[in-house]
């Protein structure tokens, strides 16, 4: 145990880890040119190891520690060194607070990375939403629409679909299994056949900031040990913007039935299959009353974007209006709603929704570090002034 403790509290480990972090940041930054921000971030920084493998091969080996591992080692190193070397005394009180602030900053960033969920809420003029949608991740929603007043949703995230190709997904809420036949992380609609729908083709992953992957999956419904039918679903078929894009490619017309959701009935209960951006439902509804895009007079230069919204929460009876504008987000229900964008016709709004339980930690950590430095500086200053007086 002592050997491990000595290892983690050593200064050599600090130097080596910092050097490795330096290399990681350098390589990871360069990789963004080819991979784009999100993929590079996942591969180099939001990972325990950076993997490498020959092109077009299935195997990969870890070649460098990833951001999570280096961050964890640095944190352990800092805590262990603190325990080993630090003696608590009045004289070192400031340094103690500075170190505690740094540790809090590390932990805060780690929890943000793990727990933060970013999504968007796009509301047309006069429209209402009670959910936000993930920017990057999709889900297969299996929805029991039998009841007259409510729908029961089973959400299967895209990562689960990707891992389960060739296998069955069974959940207690569904009386049947979903056997994933294929999953395309990014796709394009290819050939269309009546009765079969689109055949989706694989596309390289989206790397530009203004692009995103549009997945497609084909699965079988398996019940009582037999296949009950094959379904192909994709965001292409349920998102209005993407359908409009297909519509343009087809010369303004969509094949009949293409926009109808695919359904399956089991023991009198009807299920709908939809592939869509992952949704995060709220216990309240936001209605867009008015979106304003102000420009400087006589120019097209944007001056301000603002959304007047109405929050209605049946559970608490809350019903109020809020104005969200640039740098003035709404903090509500543990989430922050920022003014992010707007619809092409400039009547609808797009709000960015950030759920970060540890959003306060960087503020507290910065105050601690600042306070610690002030205390330490003042103690030295007072000590120096006293000595000078005596002399």
């Amino acid at each position: 145990m002592h050997a491990i403790f000595n290892f983690f509290s050593s200064l050599k480990l600090t130097v080596v880890t910092l050097f490795m972090s330096l290399v990681l940041v350098f390589v990871g930054t360069l990789a963004q040119v080819k991979l784009g921000l999100y993929i590079a971030q996942e591969k180099y920084f939001s990972s325990l190891f950076v993997f490498w493998g020959p092109r077009d091969s299935d195997w990969q080996i870890p070649v460098w520690p990833g951001g999570y591992l280096l961050g964890a080692i640095l944190l352990l190193n800092l805590v262990a060194a603190h325990i080993k070397r630090f003696e608590f005394s009045r004289k070192k009180f400031g340094i103690f607070i500075v170190h505690a602030g740094l540790i809090l900053m590390f932990l805060g960033q780690f929890t943000t990375q793990i727990l933060q969920v970013e999504s968007v809420m796009a509301i047309p003029a006069g429209g209402s939403k009670n959910y936000s949608e993930s920017i990057k991740r999709s889900e297969l929603a299996v929805i029991d629409v039998t009841d007259a007043d409510k729908d029961k949703v089973v959400s299967i995230p895209e990562r689960v679909l990707a891992k389960k190709v060739g296998y069955e997904i069974r959940v207690p809420e569904l009386p049947f299994a979903i056997k994933v036949k294929s999953f395309l992380l990014n796709s394009t609609p290819g050939k269309f056949e009546f009765g079969k729908g689109f055949q989706f083709a694989s596309e390289p992953r989206a790397i530009k900031m203004n692009e995103r992957d549009i997945p497609a999956t084909t699965f079988e419904v398996v019940a009582d040990g037999a296949s009950k039918g094959q379904y192909t679903v994709s965001n292409w078929l349920c998102e209005e913007g993407l359908l409009a894009s297909i519509q343009r490619q087809l010369g303004g017309k969509l094949p009949p039935g293409l926009t109808e959701p695919q359904t399956y009935t089991h023991n009198g209960r009807k299920y709908v299959f939809v592939m869509r951006q992952q949704r995060f439902y709220k216990p309240f509804t936001i209605t867009l009353l008015k979106f304003n895009f102000d420009r400087y007079l006589g120019t097209n230069i944007p001056k301000n974007y603002s959304s007047r919204i109405r929050i209605q929460r049946p559970g608490t009876g809350e019903d109020r209006e809020v104005l969200i504008y640039m740098n003035n987000p709404l903090r509500y229900w543990g989430e922050t709603y920022y003014q992010q964008s707007f619809s092409r016709d400039e009547t609808g709004t797009v709000l960015q929704v950030v759920n970060n339980p540890s959003w306060l930690t960087p503020y507290v950590a910065c105050v601690m570090v600042g306070l610690g430095l002030i205390i330490q500086f003042l103690m030295h200053l007072v000590g120096f002034a006293k000595k000078r007086k005596v002399a």
């Binding site: 325990i83 007259a148 729908d151 089973v154 009546f194 209005e240 343009r248 006589g298």
Partner: protein
């Protein structure tokens, strides 16, 4: 004592990390919940085809009659229509139709931009002239630069009509060398009168859409067209399809190149490869001739296609098949394209 503190620290640290990872991983697990009743059929509005800007804005379709001497170009970017007017000694003018959302200062902002482009002070904004356009009243602005702003040799002139209609502003702008714009001024005003709006078409609901009385050349046999096609014919070993779509010329040529297993070409290469021909009815058409692998037969084949921008729509006449069979029908395709629209 130190050991026991250490032990607690390690245990607490590992427990905290495990909790965080467990909560984090929950994002990637199957979840279930209940929600109020929803509708899962996406609303897809009928969109007009033609210029890219028109469908993006959900704007109604606009039609026009191309004046003599104006060369119609493929619509691009925000333009629903684009024309080029050649002049002497490299002088020219360019005409574009752009719909934009109507906002309080859209007009003043755009005029400021034009004045800046011409190097004129903002105070130069004059009262517009009122002209007829699409059966409505439009405001006509006419500005000329004092400095040589066209190719840095000639004065530049902007003649533009702004037509507010149903929450949108249609900008019809002619910009170019001063004398060319001056020469075409009356033609431009007459052109504005020929503009007409059409209500957005409804989705036909399958099938290839209403087909007019087309006369297929001799030897062509009409066959059942797919859902995306207006018509389909077979002529010996060659197959001919007719469709309409949006998008820029380069995107459509590259779409065809992709179908024939060819790598996408740059805009410059496409401009070099695509020939401009005049159809029998005087309409300009872009002729594309590609050889590659026919996706149907997986054998070497040829694609000869005509892309025809016509009154707010782009028509595609595509002929594919074995090289000699396609070569034998190119003239017939051009004749057919002149009548079939």
């Amino acid at each position: 004592m130190q050991n026991s503190t250490l032990k607690i620290n390690w245990t607490a640290g590992i427990a905290l990390a495990a909790c965080l990872v467990a909560v984090g991983c929950k994002r990637d697990s199957v979840t279930s919940y209940e929600i109020p009743k929803e509708n899962y059929t996406p609303r897809v509005a009928a969109i007009p085809m033609g210029g890219e800007g028109a469908d993006a804005m959900g704007a109604p379709k606009i039609r026009w009659q191309t004046p003599k001497g104006w060369n119609e170009k493929a619509a691009s970017n925000m333009r629903v229509a684009s024309f080029e007017i050649p002049g002497e000694d490299g002088k020219s003018a360019d005409v574009g139709i752009i719909p934009l959302p109507s906002t309080a200062d859209m007009e003043s902002g755009t005029i400021s931009m034009w004045l800046e482009d011409l190097g004129l002070p903002p105070a130069n904004a004059t009262k517009p002239e009122e002209v007829d356009a699409a059966g409505l009243k439009a405001r006509l602005y006419d500005f000329t630069s004092t400095e040589p702003k066209f190719q840095d040799k000639f004065k530049k002139r902007i003649l533009a009509a702004i037509l507010p209609r149903q929450g949108q502003m249609w900008f019809v702008k002619m910009a170019g060398e001063e004398s060319v714009v001056g020469r075409e001024r009356e033609t431009f005003i007459a052109f504005l009168k020929t503009l007409s709006f059409e209500a957005a078409p409804q989705i036909a609901g399958g099938g290839g859409g209403a087909k007019t009385n087309w006369k297929a050349p001799e030897g062509w046999q009409e066959v059942n067209a797919g859902p995306m096609l207006k018509a389909k014919f077979v002529a010996g070993e060659a197959e001919i399809t007719v469709s309409t779509a949006g998008g820029e010329l380069s995107a459509n040529v590259n779409r065809w190149r992709g179908q024939f297993g060819l790598a996408p070409a740059s805009d410059v290469d496409i401009e070099k490869d695509v020939k401009t021909i005049a159809l029998a009815d005087g309409t300009k058409a872009f002729a594309v001739d590609l050889t590659g692998t026919n996706p149907k037969t997986k054998r070497p084949g040829r694609l000869y296609g005509l892309i025809v921008p016509r009154g707010g729509e782009t028509w595609f006449y595509k002929m594919t098949g074995e090289s000699a069979a396609v070569g034998a029908q190119t003239n017939q395709l051009a004749e057919f394209a002149a009548t079939a629209h």
